[in-house]
């Protein structure tokens, strides 16, 4: 039990609601290691970043004007 939880806690799970996302890119400013705006102006992101980026991921979720980002521990 402990072992599997530990293994799992090495990564975060991030979900973005693309029905709401407006490609403002605030998440890419808050957490550039997870989120990025591509050349066409659209959001791309790492759905399973390292857990060490948890604080950055939280900042990105907070900063999203549309509140489209969910972090699942």
């Amino acid at each position: 039990m402990m072992g599997t939880n530990q293994a799992r806690s090495q990564q975060l799970r991030i979900e973005v609601d693309f029905n709401v996302c407006a490609d403002h890119g605030q998440c890419a400013i808050a957490a550039p290691d997870i989120f990025r705006i591509d050349d066409k102006g659209h959001l791309v992101f790492d759905a399973n970043p390292d857990a060490a980026l948890h604080a950055d991921a939280d900042d990105a979720a907070d900063a999203c004007p549309e509140q489209a980002i969910t972090i699942i521990d």
Partner: protein
């Protein structure tokens, strides 16, 4: 493609006769998605505004505004250049990351009971029953005291925030040059105010936003003293002027839509949607400005590097292509409006503004029954950040 430019509608946006909320603009919007103006292009339709707001070939465009008005040096030009709004790239992102945590929805949610108490206190304090001058008796103290609560300032000092911020707000409009002495004085006063605040928190740290910023500044090279001061002045000004104007514009809209006011009174949970709907049809920020970083073509129009592009928020928000049933309806499901701008420069304080206004409006609707204009209102210029200067209203006090 130059012929297309020549056939587009033309606005002299620096003329006192030009009005953004006008049949001239709405008629032009039916002819063309853009207009030429005396100062760059104007974008009139929702879809084009939505795409250009976040277009990678455009930067935030206000940076050139003082120079366009012949102001290239002095404290005002320096402060303007220091704004996070007028920075781009990593420099912008660094300032934004430092300021963002103070505006998180979780922190602001905890302030809701204080917003409600403040709104009730102000309504209780109206000088006369059944009448008020809405701006001086409600919108100004409400918006200024919300800033005071946010920054941990004494709330009784709200008139300083209000008067100096309103003066700086004049910088957004076409009267910038004539108002410059007043704007510069206001800036000096707010600088002194911010310096005092920073010194006070350095001497006696508190568990508050300003202390957090001071700590960030003092722990290495994250934030210089100038950046700290400029940032605080921007927060004071940016938070006050826009919110007081938007509250006044909300009241104007509801005076014209009494059934919607009654609906809001009976269903206070519509407060959030009421704020969005007001900002769609009657935003204080009447245009959002961008500047072309390089030559590019958009929808067949060649845009040269350096071109200023004004995105007309109100025209886009009432565009029948995006809002076929565009009447004012706080229950309707709408596409997002661009009253807070968008993209990298999306309004930093929008959660505060949304939260404080969505508390204030239903409370006002419940307590000020059947409001109507109670005298002659006076108005800021229609360009830039607009709103009432004074808005006398009469109403029936709720029993």
């Amino acid at each position: 493609m130059t012929t297309a430019v020549d056939e587009a509608p033309y606005f002299d946006i620096e003329s006192p006769d030009f009005a953004i909320k006008s049949e001239q603009v709405y008629a032009a919007r039916e002819r063309s998605w853009y207009a030429r103006t005396s100062y760059g292009l104007a974008v009139l339709r929702y879809d084009e505004m939505s795409r250009l707001l976040k277009h990678p070939k455009l930067r935030q465009g206000s940076v050139a505004w003082p120079a366009h008005n012949g102001i290239t040096e002095g404290p005002f030009a320096e402060w303007w250049a220091s704004w996070v709004l007028n920075k781009e790239g990593e420099e912008h992102h660094r300032l934004r990351r430092l300021m963002n945590p103070a505006f998180s929805p979780r922190l602001i949610g905890g302030l809701v009971p204080r917003f409600q108490a403040l709104a009730n206190e102000l309504i209780d304090g109206f000088a006369e029953p059944g009448r008020c001058e809405f701006m001086s008796e409600f919108a100004n103290p409400y918006a200024a005291r919300v800033i005071a609560i946010m920054l941990g300032l004494p709330e009784e000092e709200w008139p300083v925030i209000a008067s100096e911020s309103a003066a700086i707000g004049l910088a957004m409009g076409i009267t910038l040059r004539t108002e410059l002495p007043r704007i510069t004085r206001a800036l000096a006063n707010l600088y002194a105010y911010a310096d005092d605040l920073i010194a006070a928190r350095r001497a006696q740290p508190r568990d508050d936003f300003v202390t957090a910023l001071v700590k960030a500044a003092d722990e290495g090279d994250k934030l210089s003293d100038d950046e700290l001061r400029d940032g605080l002045v921007l927060l004071i000004f940016g938070g006050f002027d826009t919110t007081r104007n938007q509250l006044g514009l909300a009241m104007q809209t509801f005076l014209d839509n009494p059934a919607q006011w009654r609906l809001l009174a009976s269903r206070p949970e519509l407060g959030k949607k009421a704020v969005e709907e007001v900002m769609r049809v009657n935003p204080t920020v009447t245009w959002v400005t961008r500047e072309a970083l390089e030559d590019f073509t958009f929808e067949g129009l060649d845009v040269a590097a350096g071109t200023t592009v004004h995105l007309f928020s109100q025209s886009a928000g009432t565009d029948p292509r995006a809002f076929p049933d565009c009447g004012f309806d706080i229950e309707a499901e709408r596409k997002p409006h661009y009253g807070f701008g968008g993209g990298a420069h999306h309004c930093l304080g929008h959660f505060v503004a949304r939260s404080d206004m969505s508390e204030a409006l239903p409370l006002l609707a419940r307590r000020l029954v059947d409001p109507r204009l109670g005298g002659t209102a006076t108005w800021l210029p229609d360009s830039g950040n607009t709103g009432p200067v004074t808005l006398p209203i009469a109403f029936t006090p709720a029993s």
